[in-house]
Amino acid sequence: MTVTSAPVADTADDGTAVVRRRFSSASFNWRGLVFVVALVALIELLTMTVVNSIYVPRPSQIAEAFVAEIGRGEMLSGIGGTLLAYAQGLAIATVLGVILGAALGAFQPAYNTFRIVIEFLRPLPSVALIPFSILLLGVGPTTTVAMIVYASFWPILFNTYYGVRDVNDVAVDTARIFGLSRLAVFFRVQIPSAAVNIAAGIRISAAIALILVITVEILTRSGGLGYYIIRMQVAIRTEDMYAGILLVGIIGYVINLAMAGLERRLVFWNGDIRTNGGSR
């Protein structure tokens, strides 16, 4: 869902135009801004006229509250802890997910052994597991991190599993022919082949992890931006609550932008090279 190459690209008059457009889209996306502005304006209009609820503040009010809260510092005070827990959780989930997913994908007996347990654990909502986690890890960042790992681990695991399992035979056989060990084939062929899938998995999880860190903070009141949001909700400061949510969305957007940039570098060969030619 990154704003990058489109295989059936819009017709360009010549190759260079396409190239130029690629660059402009990488630097600044004016269209996206226009869309956002239009959408916000529409909501503003709707909240002023049709939707008249005190529980749905107007975008302008939220913006006002956002600026005020930034100034007051309260909203930002917990952000460090939130981001730290987020980063730790996502990092652990990525490492575990890639390693285990790849192992399961490369080694069918392993998948067979763990299949049922995995499928059993996967749909358990982390929300329901929080009490157990508190019991084991106490209230605080450890529980938050554990819950993030639990929720964001699965997409990475499964995308990696599929990517590694469906790697093309010729690529693997080539490496085997040259006498690479199973492990070397795994790291040097299967993992890079699956990189496209892994990247997509991480991108999904990057969002899930952010949702989770906020949700857990809300549910356990263990500080951070989530606690800010719930405190504002309980204090009936709706605008300020939405200001907090706006901040979450902005953080999510920035994270995604960074992820997409990273992905473009890591799996640069995916489609990009071909479309660089400027196909019409």
Binding site: S53, E74, P131, L135
Partner: protein
Amino acid sequence: ACGGGSGGGGGIEESEDGTTKITIATVGSDSGSQAFYADKQGFFEDEGLDVEVKIVANVPELAAAVESGDAEFALTSPTSVTSASVAGIDFQIVAGGAIYTQDNPGVWVMLPEDSDVTSIEQLEGRSLAVNALNTMPHLSTLATLEDAGADISKVNVVTLDFTQVGQAFESGQVDAATVTAPFNYQIEADGLGSTLLAPYDAVNAGEDFYNTIWFGSEEVVDANPEAVEKFRAALKAANAWANDPANEEERKSILQEYTSLTDETLATMQLLQFGDEVTEDMVQPTIDIMERFGVIPEPVEAASVIAE
């Protein structure tokens, strides 16, 4: 850490400078605010306690925090201590929290602004929102309804977080709701609803009872009588300070620090009163009402959940 309270161990350690370190868990609202005052006003320190105050959300998390030894004492309602006891978890009440009094009930049944309901039995056949089933707000409302002659099986009870009630009233999704402070003030101020009655009146025939209490696991409580004493003493001092109308302004400013309530909300809010001694007759009514509506299968003696 799964074993009952093993994480906390039997003993609470005393540090080198003679202070006792404990962790307590409470909720971030007026009903759980004693700890904030004790902390801010130095009542814990006076007793030689070094207390870490954690804010935790709901009953399951509070219970888990105590069970795992993450916190020595925590605040909850008598109903959940009773439920835990029935489920075989040995929680003991160590100190009092917020008290219901007739002129300061803390919980109200509210109606949306344009409601044609004038008395509670008219809710028969309509929908009533409560924040959670089998809690005091829910059970007391049922008792009120039943006492008024309504058939409670015909009341459509839905669970709805307090924070959502205003929106539900605004869009006409429910016919009534049981609400705590400060939401009732806000709903009234916004002109979305009005107060019908206080359901807690039906719990103890209008007499005082505990709305919230402090508890710990039996193991910890039994093994650390001194720490329990110190904790009680500190809370007692905090209660005296908090219940004194002269300190209202200061109390509100501390409360605001923890809850982020706005000045306007605080101004309209009637602050809760706190109690020190936990007596059986201030706990038993809540247990009885639980039994009345079948939340617990058999009667429980209040004495069995109150620490010596």
